[in-house]
Symmetry: C2
Subunit: 174 residues, 2 copies
């Protein structure tokens, strides 16, 4: 069985990848403003930082220096982006990344879906892929820190908050 045949058999893809070198895969078709849009997923650290900034602006996140964002992406174990093709251009509409020790633990950061594309199952598709990729690397403890309004979203994906009383804790500079 070739790599791609194996890969297809084990994902929910519905078409051939448009670019196998970059690992860009069609995962879903959605309706948006009366049009059918193809949604692709990419597992690639090579992200246009301005596209990412535009996406983060759209959800109102505090801006971060692009130089540091690049360092963070370069040192993330996993970086996954979602985009849709419109008029021969591609728009970044989702993103997530994870740090890891490459063995036991991973922590997921910066999960974002563009507001226009929320409520269409894309957050679940993105997170399913994150979990699948981490599990394929035999990482057994997948963690994240969830804002209160998305706790139920992650619970529906199988995440547990405070298991056995374990508390997520933060230290910030004064």
């Amino acid at each position: 069985m070739t790599f791609w045949k194996f890969f297809f058999k084990n994902t929910s893809m519905i078409k051939l990848p448009i670019n196998s070198i970059e690992k860009i895969l069609l995962i879903k078709q959605i309706e948006n403003k009366g049009k059918i849009l193809d949604i692709y997923i990419s597992i690639d650290h090579n992200i246009n930082l301005y596209d990412l900034e535009r996406l983060c602006d759209a959800v109102g996140w505090v801006r971060r220096p692009l130089k540091k964002v690049k360092i963070a992406i370069d040192h993330s174990f996993l970086t996954i982006s979602l985009f849709c093709k419109k008029n021969k251009t591609k728009q970044l509409i989702g993103f997530a990344r994870a740090t890891s020790d490459n063995a036991f633990n991973a922590t997921i950061w910066d999960v974002v879906i563009h507001p226009e594309f929320q409520g269409k199952g894309l957050g679940k598709a993105l997170m399913d892929q994150v979990i699948k990729e981490l599990r394929s690397s035999d990482i057994s403890t997948i963690t994240l820190f969830a804002d209160p309004h998305v706790v139920s979203f992650y619970k529906n994906l199988g995440f547990i908050s405070d298991p056995d009383g374990v508390k997520g804790m933060f230290w910030y500079p004064l």
Copy 2:
């Protein structure tokens, strides 16, 4: 000002490092069974895995494959160990490591102090050094997942649990 003079001026060390190449620093003297022991701290990924396993055994942790432990240490952003010198041998008595994206976030894992050396301020000394090292890399969000019985220990170090309702969440394979 030389590096070491600068370094000494900015730490709580009381003697010269015994091995500046390995960055091993004397941080504390403690009394143990009527003897004064010198406690050293080392910031070095090059750890004897069997010493680490012995330390983890002493606190009753579930054993993990050494091969995976090595991968985890090699891919940790920071690895800090504490040891004491006894009869010309050194004993590993404390350990902590952190994963990070090298820019914004770090997550601390595997914090352990040997039971014989607990209650002597060494956990605080270890964590102070972890925070100091992460802050020196300009990492602003330092996180960890604390078992219920150590939540107050981390609170005393300035960690906050569930800030603004943010929940630590875990996903485990079924």
